[in-house]
């Protein structure tokens, strides 16, 4: 399977070289593309200097728009699968191959790099949100997704076509839930994730609350009115 690693990067100057060099040096069987999402730091400059393959968005679109740019690139260049991969070093590239194998074996449309596929989810405040989303998806689709908020997801060609061409397909749990209700097959592969090494996390209390509200409205209400293909 011709697989593209999509790396959305917003102000990741401190991380991007480490992350991408690792991919180039040790995993060159995969293609990659960095999507510089209008960073204010010198992320673009680093990409240019290192001769990386990158898209340079002139303005900041946010994660959904940046990821979609990468998926459009994959769509136009005939890739069979796309993996969403963090620019801050949280994800471990050694799990990409197992995820691809799982996609082929189980004939899945989406494979989630899951922290809780075989391991138990800890009872922390952070995981409360994850539990609530798991429950919401289970209630509306009947499918149990153990790590819906994992940012490491593999999509096949069918999903690439949808994500590249439509709005409201941001790489978030509600999209997964909607795709499941459209008949997409989702499976999970156990992975390890690192704490971010440098830079700032996007989530704070206000943002988390807004995020949860959006997810619940989307999964419990909007999902039922979206057209199912």
């Amino acid at each position: 399977m011709k697989t593209l690693i999509v790396i959305p990067a917003y102000n990741e100057a401190q991380n991007i070289e480490r992350v991408v060099n690792n991919l180039i040096d040790n995993y060159n069987q995969f293609d990659y593309i960095i999507v510089n999402d209008g960073s204010k730091d010198n992320t673009a400059e680093i990409c240019e200097r290192n001769n990386y393959n990158y898209l340079d968005l002139p303005i900041n679109l946010g994660l959904a728009g940046a990821f979609q740019a990468g998926v459009r690139y994959a769509y136009e260049n005939g890739y069979d699968a796309v993996i969403q991969y963090d620019g801050d070093g949280q994800h471990e590239a050694s799990y990409i191959q197992p995820m691809i194998e799982s996609m082929i074996e189980t004939n899945s449309d989406i494979v989630i790099g899951s922290r809780f596929a075989t391991k138990k989810k800890p009872f922390s405040l952070r995981m409360l949100g994850s539990r609530m989303i798991t429950m919401a998806i289970k209630m509306t689709t009947g499918k149990k997704i153990k790590d819906p908020t994992s940012g490491m997801r593999l999509f096949n060609r069918k999903m690439i076509e949808k994500i590249a061409q439509n709005i409201n397909y941001g790489p978030e749990p509600d999209t997964i839930s909607y795709l499941v209700s459209c008949g997409a097959k989702v499976s999970e592969v156990q992975v390890e994730m690192h704490e971010r090494v440098a830079g700032e996390s996007y989530l704070n209390l206000t943002r988390s609350a807004r995020y949860m509200t959006n997810m619940f409205v989307s999964i419990f209400l909007v999902q039922f009115f979206r057209s199912k293909e």
Binding site: I33, V35, N51, N53, Y54, L55, D56, L57, P58, I59, L61, G65, Q68, A69, R72, Y73, E76, I167
Partner: protein, 118 residues
């Protein structure tokens, strides 16, 4: 409805129309967008000139003071307008996203081409 309120309605609607026309003259507003505001002014003028309409509406909807019916109507129209603007904003955002992505992918292709030539 008091005479003062009627005068206020009429004056406000005339001022609104003038302001809209000025904005069109200054090329700040598309003509098709302006029609909403003319329609809006027309409703204010009608309510100011013919308070019977307001009294009648208030009676039908069971609003005690006719003036409240004026407010209700205006709020209602503005909420619909607000929602329309929200839809437009979403469409606009989508267009900007599309354009940005298209641009960056084309630029990526150009970059590769120029590197190939070198």
């Amino acid at each position: 409805m008091s005479v003062t309120l009627r005068i206020v309605l009429i004056v406000m609607s005339i001022l609104t129309s003038i302001y809209v026309l000025v904005q069109i003259r200054k090329s700040q507003l598309k003509i098709e967008e302006a029609s909403f505001w003319f329609f809006f002014s027309a409703i204010l003028i009608l309510m100011g000139l013919f308070p019977q309409i307001v009294n009648f509406g208030a009676k039908i909807f069971g609003v005690q003071a006719p003036v409240n019916f004026v407010f209700l109507g205006i709020i209602f129209i503005l909420i619909i307008r607000l929602f329309h603007l929200n839809v437009k904003l979403s469409q606009l955002e989508n267009k900007v996203e599309n354009l940005t992505q298209r641009y960056s992918i084309d630029e990526n292709n150009r970059r590769k081409e120029s590197k190939k030539v070198q």
